[in-house]
């Protein structure tokens, strides 16, 4: 099928903000080796979804470029590597590249300037079994570079129940300002394609659709040329209409395949999987070159003299790389990501992490504070802009009145926080903030409720156990009484058969008075048995202590104090 003839689908809503891409996409990427080394790298150990990697180095250690410094913990975790060779100065909490201003255990490395790689041995990935290959990618630190930083190895698991019919490769890059994927496709199309083919092979996907917004004709052409050179007719580079958020995974899957993946479901259940072009390139580097993920393409834009793309090592302070682009002095903050969904960084020197596709130097002139928030006039502009077909003004209304049950009825958790609603709102209401607030509150309540539920369950279980024990004790006692009575009657009938010890005597006594209190009879029987055992033990060759203990132990159950600990 000719790529240009492919039938495309559309999603509702979406907006067309000024793209601001031409500022940074006219210059080529500054390659890794051409970016100067900062005086210090601060490499946070947690840069992806999943468990926090364990530090594998300590202060004073010498590390090589690409050496693992954070080991993955658990299946969803992903390793962290040294961005250059040098000395570990400290392993300590440092400010995260997160709007919260929280800290994260980080490895501080002082480069030695030699930038010396570890020994790179490309794996024989074609002959690896699935688990080994996934472990390899996990240890190479490969995570999704589209923004979600989901560990890639977890997405390369074939779902046996649903064959993969389409592998969607996301090169849409719909957010304004960001051009890293654009430039990556333009300059390294062949390598990106190699990565795509690896993914496609691992997932056994029938066809591959690379979705690229039609405002990137050079990238589309480069990818198509690479595909033509490769000669694979089942891989298509498709220009999709430029409309934010066409690069949202679910939106792009919808555009390319017509499938709407509902919230909370995996696209794999529908025979589709989605990877970012940057991730495909990283997978190529890891499996064909044996290079762990230590860098990515990053757009530096906004309030800088020369907006452009850099191949930046993780752990590089943001202000260091922004200064390479001519950071203007009136910059008040960095925004990581695009202006629609990006986050304001708590400081200028927070490190570049795997999730950072773009840093925008912000100034009051570039992003003026929003006009004052006014009342909602229910104009419905937000509902028309919503790519998820939500009713944002209704969610806002209920979130504002903290009626969180109602917000959920309006499908709050289907919201992808793309910001289209807030973008179009004539009343300048920070709608997404209300949704984030409502989500956080609901999560918090659920956590508290779960804690309370667990406590309640524990309490009830404890009460039930106590009751059950009491009941079982009574039942056992009754059963034993009945059994004892039966035994005594039988024993009485054959008293002569008993050993010539105290037991027959007791038994005889018991038999003689079958009408006596059964409890009493039971106790007497137990005493008799114990005595018999003691007597037997005494006659034994062995020393008296152990058998005596044993005897008393075995006697104990019969005396009605059976331990309940086994429950």
């Amino acid at each position: 099928m000719n790529a240009t003839l492919r039938k495309l689908f559309s999603f509702n809503g979406g907006v067309k903000p000024a793209s601001n891409k031409t500022e940074s996409n006219r210059e080529p990427i500054v390659p890794l080796e051409a970016v100067p080394l900062p005086p210090q790298f601060v490499v946070p150990l947690h840069q992806s979804v999943g468990g926090i990697p364990q530090p594998l180095v300590q202060a004073g250690d010498k590390v090589l470029k690409g050496q693992r410094i954070g080991g993955a913990t658990g299946a969803y975790s992903s390793a962290i590597h040294a961005p250059t060779s040098g000395t570990v100065l400290a392993v300590e909490p440092r400010l995260m590249a997160h709007t919260s201003g929280l800290t994260m255990l980080s490895v501080v490395i002082e480069p030695d300037g030699r930038d010396e790689w570890i020994e790179l041995t490309p794996p024989d990935w074609r002959n690896m079994d699935g688990d080994t290959l996934r472990d390899y990618l996990r240890d190479a630190g490969v995570v999704g570079l589209g923004g979600a930083v989901f560990p890639s190895h977890m997405k390369l698991r074939q779902d046996r129940s649903t064959p993969m019919h389409t592998l969607v490769i996301n090169g849409a890059e719909c957010e304004p300002f960001i051009t890293c994927d654009d430039l990556l496709m333009r300059e390294r199309a062949a390598d990106v394609l190699r990565g795509i083919i690896i993914i496609r092979t691992l997932l056994d996907a029938k066809e591959v659709a690379i979705g690229i917004e039609d405002n990137k004709p050079e990238a589309v052409a480069a990818m198509q040329a690479a595909i033509a050179a490769n000669g694979d007719a089942t891989i298509h580079a498709v220009a999709v209409p430029t409309r934010y958020p066409a690069g949202g995974a679910k939106q792009l899957i919808r555009v390319l395949t017509g499938i709407e993946v509902p919230h909370g479901e995996r696209s794999t259940s529908y025979g589709v999987q989605c990877f970012n072009v940057g991730t495909a390139y990283a997978i190529y580097q890891a499996l064909e070159l044996g290079r762990p993920m230590i860098s990515r393409i990053l757009t530096v834009a906004g309030n800088v003299e020369h907006p452009r793309n850099y191949e930046v090592r993780f752990g590089t302070p943001m202000d260091f790389i922004a200064r390479q682009a001519g950071l203007k002095p009136n910059t008040d903050a960095f925004i990581m990501g695009g202006p629609m969904m990006g986050f304001r960084m708590p400081a200028l020197d927070v490190p570049v992490v795997k999730a950072a596709n773009c840093i925008i130097a912000s100034s009051p002139a570039l992003f003026p504070p929003p006009p004052p928030e006014m009342a909602c006039i229910r104009c419905g502009a937000c509902a028309r802009a919503c790519p998820t077909d939500l009713q944002p003004f209704e969610m806002y209304w209920h979130a504002r009145s903290k009626n969180f049950g109602k917000v959920q009825e309006f499908n709050l958790f289907d919201c992808i926080e793309c910001g289209c609603c807030a973008f179009v709102c004539p009343s300048h209401i920070p709608l997404v903030d209300y949704y984030r607030f409502a989500k956080t509150e609901i999560w918090d309540r659920e956590r508290k409720k779960n804690a309370a539920d667990e406590a309640r369950v524990r309490f009830e279980a404890r009460n039930e156990r106590a009751e059950r024990e009491k009941r079982e004790k009574a039942e056992k006692l009754a059963a034993r009484t009945a059994a004892a009575r039966a035994t005594l009657i039988t024993e009485g009938d054959s008293a002569a058969a008993a050993a010539p010890t105290a037991a027959p005597a007791a038994a005889a006594t018991a038999t003689a008075s079958t009408e006596v209190d059964p409890k009493k009879a039971l106790i007497e029987a137990a005493i008799a048995r114990a005595k018999a055992k003691k007597a037997a033990a005494a006659t034994a060759e062995s020393t008296s202590a152990a058998p005596a203990t044993q005897a008393s132990e075995t006697a104990a159950p019969t005396s009605g104090t059976e331990p309940t600990s086994k429950e």
């Binding site: 709007t99 919808r254 709407e260 479901e265 529908y270 925004i335 629609m340 289907d414 807030a422 709102c425």
Partner: protein
Amino acid sequence: MMLNNSPYVRAEASVTRVMLKVLIALLPALAAYVWQFGPAILVQVALASITALVCEAIMLRVRGKPLNLYLTDLSVLVTAWLIALAFPAIAPWWMVVTGTALAVVVAKHLYGGLGQNPFNPAMVAYCVMIVAFPSLMSQWPGVHGDASSQIHLIFGGERVLDGITSATPLDALRTGLREAGATVSAIRNGPAFGSVGGAGSEWVIGGYLLGGLWLVQQGVITWHIPVAFLGALAVFSGGFWLADSAHYASPLSHLLIGGSMLGAFFILTDPVSASTTPRGKAIYGAGAALIVFLIRAFGAYPDGVAFATLLMNLCVPLIDMKTQPPVFGHKLKRPASPKKV
């Protein structure tokens, strides 16, 4: 809680801009009004506007709301203009002033101000005044009236009405059909009617249509409510007209006389008090059309747009609740087999 978070860019949109577009959309009708009926309407617009701004300012101050922010949103001027256009242009000044004050103070601010009113304020004013002063609210100026005598009437002149007022087409239909036993075609040839609609008012209604279509084109309103309302009105009136064309006016007459166009594009589409979902808007518009038709054909008032609006305003929460559109991914069931995708 409200830090400056993403998105950091915004479309150039504001409440002021929305309201300004509505005001601009009213200009063609206003111009036609002046051309056909004289400048009295401008006096009413001025009276209503001043009253509205004063009441708005007082209420904002009383409620401790930022004066500059909300007084400049122009929303109160939209209410004022709609009242002026809905009221007879020769109604005494105190009627427009009272009506506007009522709309702004009671129907808008006592319910919580901008965006919070469950009822359309202009229609609250209209309904209260037509119930309280039915005859004053029914005296409409004739075509090409004398400006000075119209203005004289507004400012307390003795209401000698011969030669100044004229029966509206809806009045003519009502009295003609119910009292004089005339047929629709005879009434249609009477002085109240022009070539397609009411004499003179057909131009004003053309102005509403023009402005309304521009609002749809501008995305200020969506097509759902006007189409549903006008379409359903045509269907209801058409049914009766086909059955008995001597006693029921044609669908075209229903669309082109009275408050149909004003209601369809400017009143029923008030976003605050209208339904918001696409299907809900259709139900809301069609429901209003039914009420309008019933009042016109069988009710005690010549027109029913105001009552229909308020009654449908009441139904909005229920309509919206029952017509929530399916969310992305919720409308499609999981494909039975991936091969069929």
